[in-house]
Every structure is written in structure tokens, then in C-alpha cells.
């Protein structure tokens, strides 16, 4: 049988890329590769974006609330959870009272009157270093542990505020992880 007699057995002729071909990638495989590559790129870009945004939000939190950030850092350093409150274990009975009435009165030093120079920040216009104590004598005793020193009549009360005793560090636990962006 001649070749002309059996045209159906010939391989189909591939259509050449003519001017009327559909624009864009020509085969399904190319489109599939494109789609897969875009998906992988989008995942990696998403990872980069999220990590960058997370780092930025941490920085913003640090800038907006430095006190909170410092507390968090200190908590992380001492391994104390932020929610835990440290209560002082020293009571008022533990504060020693020293009687200093037998001592001679301290001489009063009178500074030259210069309201602008002597005025304490936050005090009234008449308050100055030589005329008024920084801490009023009638101030209620603070609940914080302190050492009260009994002064001669008229002299300001000196309160020495001591730091609360350090809390024993609890057993090791996993480091606190803030997830601000979650």
C-alpha cells in the first residue's frame, strides 16, 4: 500500500506558530510551571513579609511603651512571669525606730532668697529649700518597708526607702515568648 493510500496512519502534523496564535505561554506545562513557581515564591515572600512585620511591630511596641518593654526584658532576665506580683515580706514591726531626741538640733542653714533658683520642681511658689521640707511631716506612712528615723521637733522626717528583698528565682521554665502579632 502506498503512502497516499493510508493518510490516517501518518503522524499528525504539529501546527506551526503562526501570527494568529493565542498570546502568552504556549503550553499547559509552561502555565503549570509558572503557577507552581508563583506559589513557592509567594510562600517565601509571605514568610519574609511576616517576619519583617513581626520584627517591626516588636520595635514599635518597644518605642511606644518602653516601661512595658523594660518590664518584659527584666522578667525575661530574672525569669519571673509578668503576671506575678512580688509582695514584700517585711512588716512594720520589723522597722527599727531610733530615738535621736537626745542629740543636739541640727543648725538651720539659710540660703539666700532666690525663688527661681531654690524653687523645687513641682512645689508651690513659696516653697524653697530653706523653708519647706521635701517630704511633708504629716505624710501617712507608706506601706513600703522603710526605716523611720525620729528627728528632733521641727526637723523633717527622713525616710530611707529600702528595696524589697529579692524574690528567689523559681525553677527553670521555658523562656517567655511573646507573640505580639498573633
Amino acid at each position: 500500500m502506498s503512502d497516499e493510500a493510508r493518510p490516517t496512519m501518518q503522524k499528525p502534523v504539529r501546527r506551526s506558530n503562526g501570527p494568529h496564535r493565542r498570546p502568552g505561554p504556549r503550553s499547559v506545562t509552561e502555565l503549570k510551571v509558572l503557577l507552581a513557581a508563583c506559589s513557592v515564591s509567594a510562600t517565601i515572600a509571605g514568610w519574609a513579609l511576616i517576619s519583617n512585620r513581626d520584627a517591626l511591630s516588636d520595635m514599635v511596641v518597644a518605642a511606644e511603651d518602653p516601661e512595658q518593654t523594660m518590664t518584659t526584658l527584666l522578667d525575661a532576665a530574672t525569669d519571673v512571669a509578668p503576671s506575678e506580683t512580688v509582695t514584700p515580706t517585711v512588716t512594720s514591726q520589723d522597722i527599727p525606730v531610733v530615738d535621736l531626741s537626745h542629740l543636739p538640733r541640727a543648725p538651720v542653714i539659710v540660703l539666700p532668697a532666690s525663688p527661681s533658683a531654690n524653687q523645687l520642681p513641682g512645689s508651690s511658689a513659696g516653697a524653697s529649700l530653706g523653708s519647706s521640707p521635701a517630704v511633708p511631716a504629716s505624710a501617712p506612712p507608706s506601706s513600703a518597708p522603710s526605716t523611720a528615723v525620729q528627728q528632733p521637733q521641727g526637723a523633717p522626717t527622713i525616710r530611707t526607702v529600702t528595696a524589697p528583698p529579692t524574690r528567689p528565682v523559681p525553677a527553670a521554665r521555658p523562656a517567655a515568648r511573646t507573640r505580639s502579632s498573633q
Partner: protein, 257 residues
């Protein structure tokens, strides 16, 4: 006579088997990628390196989030392509075969990325999922358990819908259709999962809205075209007996039909 453009195209085809449009697209993508990379890498590198090498390695969590979003986009793409395939709209844009292949391939990619989204969570040291918590729906308690469970059910449903591509031979048309329509249930489940369990739900709200509205629009087009087709069919079926009777009367009168 062959023009200069045609000869250049032929040369390129002979050289690499790539069409000039593809070559231009790839080159453009390369240049854009280089420029964007050069501009963004210095900013992104610290975050990337700290998520990879820092004390708290968050890379697993970040990859889980980004791959989840990509899987959702692929699901949306597959669904919209599927609906538009049934309306012949996609066939007009891309061709029947290309649309069908893309519909299938995007479903497969969706399953791959959703699997990655699940598996990579096992590496996260903060959430500490076990393999059983990942596999069994509603078994986890660490993080928004109900919405995570919905996502797990949605993932299994997506697997079933994807399996329907291969089980078509063994299913009746009605069964296959029902199984394939479960894709919409998958979409609803995973949208809820993304909205209520997703960390980036607030940022990605426009994405969810666009996905929902475009899918609804494509379904609306589908219903509208179905309605029009049934009307045309009814009109044709009404017109057919009249034409037949007309032809019969002409034949009985000996006139040409």
C-alpha cells in the same frame, strides 16, 4: 514572504523551544525580581535571619501562615476555574483543555500547600502540636481549637474533592457531581478557618472578601447561563413539533420542504 519577526520567532523556537512571549516574560520577571530583591533584601534580611537563627525560631510558624494563605488562593483559583469551565467562559479565555488542566493542577497544588501548612506546624516550638493533634480534628487545645478543627475537616474534604478527579471512572455522574460540589463546602470551611484561626485575618480581610465575591459572581454567571440555556432548549423543543408538522403538511401537499 516571511517577515523579519516571523524568522526571529522561528529561530527562537528552534533554539530553545520557548515562545518569544515566554522569553520576554521570564526576562521581565528576572529583572523585576533582581530589582525588588536588591531593594527589599537589606530590609527583610534581619527579620528572616532572626526567624531562622534566633533564639525563638519562628520560621515554622511564619511558613505555616504564608503557605496557608497560598493554599487558600489556590483553592479559590481552582473553584472559580471549575465554575467558569462549566459556563464555557474559561474555555473562551484559555481554551477548554488548558482550563481543565489548570483547574486540576491548582487543586493538586492546593493540597500540596495545605499539607505543607499542616506538617510545618509540627516544627513550631511555641504551639507544640503532636502528630495526633495535627491529624485528628478538634484534638488540639493550644490555639483556637474549634476553628483549627474546622480547618482540619476542610482539609480532609479537600482531599476527597481532589480524589474525585481520579475516581470519576468508578462513580456515577450524580455521585461525582455531589462530591465535586463539596468544593464549595471546603471553601466555606477554610474561609472560616482563615478568618477565625488565621493570625493575619485582619490584614487579609480584603483577600477573603475578593475571593468570596468573585466566587459568588462566577456562580451567579453559571446559574444565569444555565437558566438561559434551559429557556433556549424549551423554546427549541416547542418549535420542533411545529416545524415537523409544517414539514409534514408540505410533504402531503407535494411541496418541497
Amino acid at each position: 514572504m516571511q517577515t523579519k519577526h516571523q524568522s526571529l520567532e522561528q529561530d527562537l523556537n528552534e533554539l530553545g523551544g520557548w515562545s518569544p512571549v515566554t522569553v520576554v516574560m521570564l526576562l521581565t520577571a528576572l529583572v523585576v525580581g533582581e530589582v525588588v530583591g536588591l531593594l527589599l533584601l537589606p530590609q527583610w534580611l534581619p527579620g528572616l535571619s532572626s526567624s531562622l537563627l534566633g533564639e525563638n525560631q519562628k520560621v515554622y510558624w511564619y511558613l505555616a501562615r504564608s503557605s496557608g494563605v497560598v493554599a487558600y488562593i489556590l483553592l479559590w483559583m481552582s473553584l472559580v476555574l471549575g465554575v467558569l469551565l462549566s459556563t464555557k467562559t474559561a474555555s473562551r479565555w484559555l481554551g477548554q483543555q488548558v482550563s481543565l488542566e489548570l483547574h486540576r493542577f491548582s487543586s493538586a497544588l492546593m493540597v500540596v500547600f495545605a499539607t505543607f501548612h499542616v506538617v510545618v506546624l509540627l516544627g513550631d516550638q511555641w504551639i507544640r502540636y503532636t502528630i495526633w493533634q495535627v491529624v485528628i480534628p478538634f484534638a488540639s487545645e493550644q490555639y483556637r481549637p474549634f476553628w483549627v478543627g474546622l480547618g482540619q475537616i476542610g482539609f480532609y474534604a479537600a482531599l476527597a474533592v481532589y480524589g474525585s478527579f481520579w475516581l470519576r471512572k468508578f462513580l456515577t455522574t450524580r455521585g461525582w457531581r455531589l462530591l465535586h460540589y463539596a468544593g464549595f463546602v471546603v471553601f466555606v470551611l477554610l474561609t472560616l478557618h482563615g478568618l477565625y484561626a488565621g493570625t493575619d485575618a485582619e490584614t487579609l480581610r480584603p483577600l477573603y472578601q475578593v475571593a468570596l465575591y468573585t466566587l459568588l459572581l462566577s456562580v451567579f454567571i453559571r446559574v444565569l447561563m444555565r437558566f438561559q440555556a434551559s429557556r433556549t432548549q424549551r423554546a427549541a423543543s416547542l418549535a420542533a413539533p411545529e416545524a415537523a408538522s409544517d414539514a409534514g403538511s408540505r410533504a402531503s401537499e407535494g411541496l418541497p420542504s
